[in-house]
């Protein structure tokens, strides 16, 4: 495994009290693997990703272990972390307009990564920048390099962001809802682009999304998150066919499928909880249709069964 997350917890100290945004997450991403991290808004999936990249601000307390090639990122000294971030681990954000520096040209932003993480000279860096734009499907690279983020369209901005993230050939790309802010047609292009680049460059991809359709289309494995905890992991095929967690099952029933015209969508009642304290039992119990007595009092552990894991009493006994 190249990325191994063990018992990751994130506690936010807010003016309205403490919030357990991530409550003991275990997650692995192997070399060249595409893992989807799905969940509703507020399930802690984006916070998990940012905690892995060590991007959370001072009011967040992160504990646990985020091990990258055997070394813990959370306790690593700053200079070593700087070499890994950008060099071995790249990240793509949801809103490319906000994630690109508005006052630096795209060319300068690519160049800066190459200066930080490679030994290339100025000429080689420019050649590499042009090659990167070509890779991500931005035409007229020589002109585009001198332009600024506001001169790009939404889809082109995300392509530029991906080019920047990939400049130093990272082995793992963290993607935080990379297609959510884009048109549906552009979404598809960007996902295809990410998959093509993954194959060409042999990198792994950890994709955070709330869109099960995106997961089905792109991922090898999926981890379902609810209220700061992982409910279930497994191959996309296994999890989508036979969910081992009641929450996953409910999510899938709420998703339109190919037979959408003939089957009714079943919404999940209620709201995701505010995580002002860790739930005593299963966090999904109050909204669960399959809830058992012990679900409200006892926290289900993530139990491994072959290549998949699940933390559900109701479905484990079936």
């Amino acid at each position: 495994m190249s990325l191994e997350v063990e018992n990751l917890r994130v506690l936010f100290d807010t003016p309205r009290g403490k919030v357990w945004a991530v409550d003991g997450v275990d997650l692995t991403v192997g070399p060249g693997e595409v893992v989807g991290l799905v969940g509703e808004s507020g399930s802690g999936k984006s916070v998990t990703l940012r905690a892995i990249a060590k991007l959370l601000h001072a009011h967040a307390t992160t504990t646990g272990r985020v091990s990258w090639r055997g070394r813990d990122l959370l306790t690593m000294p700053e200079p070593e972390l700087e070499a890994i971030r950008g060099g071995q681990i790249g990240m793509v954000f949801q809103e490319p307009m906000a994630a690109l520096n508005p006052v630096l040209s795209i060319g300068l932003q690519i160049d800066e990564v190459l200066v930080a993480h490679t030994d290339l000279d100025a000429k080689a860096r420019r050649a590499r920048a042009l090659e990167l734009l070509d890779h991500v499907g931005i035409a007229a690279g020589a002109t585009r390099l001198g332009q600024y983020a506001h001169e790009f369209s939404g889809g082109m901005r995300q392509r530029a962001m991906i080019a920047i993230a990939l400049a130093a050939n990272p082995a793992l790309l963290l993607a935080d809802e990379p297609t959510t802010a884009l048109d549906v047609t552009i979404q598809d292009q960007i996902l295809r682009l990410l998959l093509r680049l993954k194959d060409e460059l042999g990198m792994a991809l950890l994709l955070v999304t709330h869109d099960l359709g995106v997961v089905a289309q792109t991922c090898d494995r999926v981890a379902v998150m609810y209220a700061g905890r992982i409910c279930e992991t497994g191959t996309v095929r296994d999890v989508f066919r036979h969910p081992h967690h009641a929450y996953t099952a409910a999510l899938l029933q709420a998703m339109p499928s190919d037979q959408a015209s003939t089957t009714r969508l079943v919404p999940i009642p209620g709201m995701a909880p505010r995580l002002s304290h860790p739930a005593e039992g299963c966090a999904f119990a109050p909204r669960c249709a399959e809830v058992l007595d012990r679900c409200t009092t006892e926290r289900p552990a993530l139990i491994t069964q072959g290549s998949r894991t699940a933390a559900c009493f109701a479905r484990a006994t079936q």
Binding site: A53, L81, E82, I84, F93, L104, I164
Partner: protein, 269 residues
């Protein structure tokens, strides 16, 4: 943006352009030697020979005002640059790191703004002794607070944006993220304020000059020129006219350019 909204900016640039031209080459624009005495024209009223009259030694007021513009421009620049540099750096650091430094800064800033600006500057100059250098020191000691507060607010907005997170996740050091990414994005409103602040700096320099705390004779400065004319105000009020007009024009020029830049760069104030 139409001509109508650009007009103040253009007008301001013209005013400042004239002032800078005067400051760079006063000899070219002065009709006569600003220091030459003319005993045939003592306290002469405005005429074709002396557009703005002469003072008690027969010196041409227009020429004196033009040659004084160099010092006033210098005041505008240095009385702005000190607070700008110190304040921006402090604002950048406390805005980014927050915590104890930010809390200390907040109290210190509150303490400084409690005093009226001019009173505090005059008090510091009075302690250090009159002169331009001491005036710059006093202005820097008091004026940095406004810049620091502006910068701190901007930095706190910028640091939560994703391009900062993107910079960090690309493996850039804190100083690199701060100075290459955050600073250029946060500095815009500070620079706009700085241009407007130069108008105030000129007024301040003239005020202190008038009070005898700023530029010292023989350095001619507009405030000093006005003070010179004070004694003859009943008989020769024109002595203070040219430097007075110059101060108003320069102040207006900097204000118009500042406002024009603010709307051009879409800085909210």
């Amino acid at each position: 943006m139409g001509l109508r909204t650009k007009l103040p900016l253009i007008l301001g640039c013209v005013l400042l352009g004239v002032m800078i031209a005067f400051a760079v080459a006063p000899d070219v624009f002065s009709p006569m030697d600003p220091l030459a005495f003319d005993y045939d024209a003592l306290l002469a009223p405005p005429s074709a020979a002396h557009w703005f009259g002469t003072d008690q030694f027969g010196r041409d007021m227009l020429s004196r005002t033009i040659s004084a513009s160099r010092i006033d421009l210098q005041i505008a620049i240095f009385a702005m640059a000190g607070p700008l540099l110190i304040g921006s750096l402090i604002g950048l650091l406390v805005g980014w790191f927050g915590g104890v430094a930010d809390a200390v800064f907040g109290r210190l800033a509150d303490l400084v703004v409690t005093f009226p600006f001019l009173v505090l500057v005059i008090a510091i100059v009075a302690v250090l002794g009159p002169g331009l250098i001491n005036m710059y020191i006093a202005v820097a000691l008091v004026g940095w607070v406004v810049y620091a507060k502006l910068m701190r607010g901007e930095v706190r907005v910028q640091r939560s944006l994703d391009y900062v997170a993107a910079g960090r996740v690309l493996g850039y050091s804190t100083s690199r993220v701060l100075f290459r990414h955050v600073l250029p994005n946060a500095v815009r409103s500070v620079l706009v304020y700085a241009v407007t602040d130069m108008a105030l700096a000129i007024l301040l320099g003239s005020s202190l000059g008038y009070l005898g705390l700023g530029a010292q004779p023989p350095e001619a400065e507009w405030g000093v020129l006005i003070a010179d004319g004070k004694n003859f105000f009943d008989t020769a009020p024109w002595i203070s006219l040219a430097p007075g007009v110059a101060i108003v024009a320069a102040g207006l020029g900097f204000s118009l350019v500042g406002d024009g830049l603010a709307s051009l760069l879409d800085v909210k104030r």
